[in-house]
Symmetry: C3
Subunit: 300 residues, 3 copies
């Protein structure tokens, strides 16, 4: 699988990223089954795994980490992303009074330490600030993130769900470059393509990552959007043998901004076929056919 150099860093990530946010939802969460998913990814060259402290009510990192603890040789074959700053209401934090964001130096450092412990590793390849924090002290957060990179505990830092002024403020308070912004992008969520956000990411060398690249499953429902998209999906199925989910991911991959989709299926047979997506060709006109069908109106 092709790899991609993240932002201004030396990190090489795989062109598709496997997202573990539903790992704890699987019926079987044994080490054996987690390892099976990891191997299915690695066998295809999908070497980058996207975590967050909070996924699975704070359980997903631990499930994944058990597989790494069981076979430490796995770590060098993969890149690990995790995130922090969302403080969830959870039985595990019974004294919390509200869901909030925390980008304080103390919290960020503690969150990274916990992620490292959960994942049985001594470094993250990429740490993302999960949500823009309206209470952020940029000087404090920026310094804490720089220190985490200097210490080797994280190789690089980025953001998620940020818009340009928020990341520029954080960047202005850091020595190391922010290298990524993970936002929602899909055929069903196209705002970043037109509101300046994707352009600003490219301008500032933040590699765009796409969460919910399948629209949270809505592409498989029966909606006005999916009914308009259906004939194009059918044509591409006939021409290239491409399934709906593969077309939707290839639509993101076709963009020159090197968008990295974060794919999170728990289904082993679907995982096994992910690398086929890279063979699908979405030319410019087809890209706009899909855009137009999703939007329900032609471009201006």
């Amino acid at each position: 699988m092709r790899t991609f150099q993240m932002g201004k860093s030396n990190l090489q990530f795989s062109r598709l990223v496997y997202g573990v946010w539903r790992l704890a939802d699987a019926e079987d969460t044994s080490i054996k089954h987690v390892r099976e998913k990891i191997d299915l990814c690695l066998d295809q060259g999908i070497t980058t795994f996207d975590h967050a402290d909070i996924y699975g009510d704070y359980e997903c990192e631990k499930l994944f980490g058990k597989a790494l603890a069981d076979d430490p040789s796995l770590r060098s074959q993969m890149q690990l992303i995790s995130k922090c700053d969302i403080a969830l209401m959870s039985d595990k934090f019974s004294d919390r009074r509200v869901k909030f964001y925390d980008t304080s130096a103390e919290y960020v450092r503690a969150s990274v330490e916990q992620s490292l412990q959960n994942l049985s590793t001594d470094y993250l390849d990429l740490l993302l600030i999960h949500r823009p924090d309206p209470f952020m002290n940029a000087a404090e957060t920026g310094a804490a993130l720089d220190q985490l990179i200097d210490s080797g505990k994280v190789k690089a830092v980025g953001v998620s769900n940020f818009e340009v002024w928020d990341w520029r403020l954080l960047q202005a308070n850091m020595r190391h470059p922010l290298v990524a912004n993970q936002v929602e992008m899909s055929l069903l969520q196209r705002d970043a393509f037109t509101n300046g956000n994707l352009s600003a990411m490219q301008l500032d060398s933040l590699t765009p990552m796409a969460w919910s690249p399948l629209g949270g499953g809505a592409l498989f429902g029966d909606t006005p959007e999916t009914r308009r998209l259906a004939p194009i999906f059918e044509r591409l199925a006939q021409e290239q043998g491409a399934s709906v989910d593969h077309v939707a991911l290839a639509w993101l991959l076709a963009h020159s901004a090197n968008i990295l989709p974060v794919v999170g299926t728990n289904n082993p047979s679907r995982i096994k076929s992910l690398s086929n997506i890279l063979d699908i060709e979405i030319d410019r006109e087809t890209w706009f056919e899909l855009w137009t069908a999703a939007a329900g109106q032609e471009v201006a």
Copy 2:
């Protein structure tokens, strides 16, 4: 007529620009009649003509070009703007499946070659990217535009309907400066004055051009806006002998940002009087009277 130096270029454009987008709609599209309109403009110092590949279903450039072919001495007396990147659904491109944008190097170069051929000229004074393309490969498009300038086929490049992050991304991938942004601005479309777009254009030395400066003719209808504007128009008619359309254009000319209105009337008598607009004085308070009547509420 006053002229204006476009952006950071050496181009001198006339203070009013004649837009040909309805040239093919005229009852008589003979060379003689096209030439008549050109002469009416040139006689008044309106030397800049605004085209696009697609105007008149790809016919307007050709109609205009016939007059240039008929009298090649005209070319040196005028400046020609054209645009590209909108791929229209059209009988002329019967294999198109959808309206789309195309900023690929190949398409942009071919579009310019076609415009040059249509217009019977060997250079455009200004080429505009017609619409922001959500699929744009900025490195590719920027390099293609630079090459077109280097080759002498276009003297300068700008954009149309762009917002700041999109033009900054394109500019970051070019050596030559973008010199203009043509957007909709009029008494009936005032967004650019308040949403930062006109400020950002001035900051980045993009000369603002205004399409539909008369609101697409809506200023002549009977609407709440026009009823509120009527008493002010009447006063200005009495004080300065100014017609509604001339006031609306003078309202744009009065702004210090040097907004160039693109005027597209097919009516010879209206064309003949266009230069009178430059004699109308719209002072600050009158400017806000018109703003307020159009908006239907006083400023905050």
Copy 3:
């Protein structure tokens, strides 16, 4: 009271600013009562007073100025802010046809001269452009503002109700730095925290000032917002003896961006207790509890 250095200037402003916009609304507007309010502020270290030419239909500056004329020793104990560019419909300007903004050099200079005369002073510490002017000639306005600073008539210049492209355009036309942006911010008006405006202010070293920090009194009404906020206000009243208005101001003070709230109560007993606000502690979780109750939904 703590003081704060404004933007990139040498100005030291008090952490709370007293706003006089309702000074003319008080039952007693005698010099004695105005002086009483000034003394109540100064006694607590509230040394910065926020004016505008238009407050009280152009009367507030004069009322305040009488106290300064009566005791010139007061001037050196305080900092004076005033504003200009809103031209109100008023009996005092009976020939005006519309409310408008005026950032012309002539108007801005005359407005400052009038403010100096009204306030019985020979300098303003800070002059703010009151509203973004869609008709602004940035080169002209910027030069006029620079000259006012050079002449010593104003120590520094800032803006009010601006967004980033408007202040960047003005700044690009000035030699002296803009040092503040006064916008509406409160528990009931949180847009600046999420739309990039507060981040951009920090990035550009514009000190944020908050007008209507109590939501124009709406925090004391019976609304869905205040009903959701009530239990938290009650808890903070019990824990820290803090009143609703003090909590709302402390919520702004707790932010690391050094937001300066402009407080405008006419009630002497309320003025007398303002400095108590600085003792209230709003920790991060409480800050988000208040945010969430005001918003009516948890953060994303």
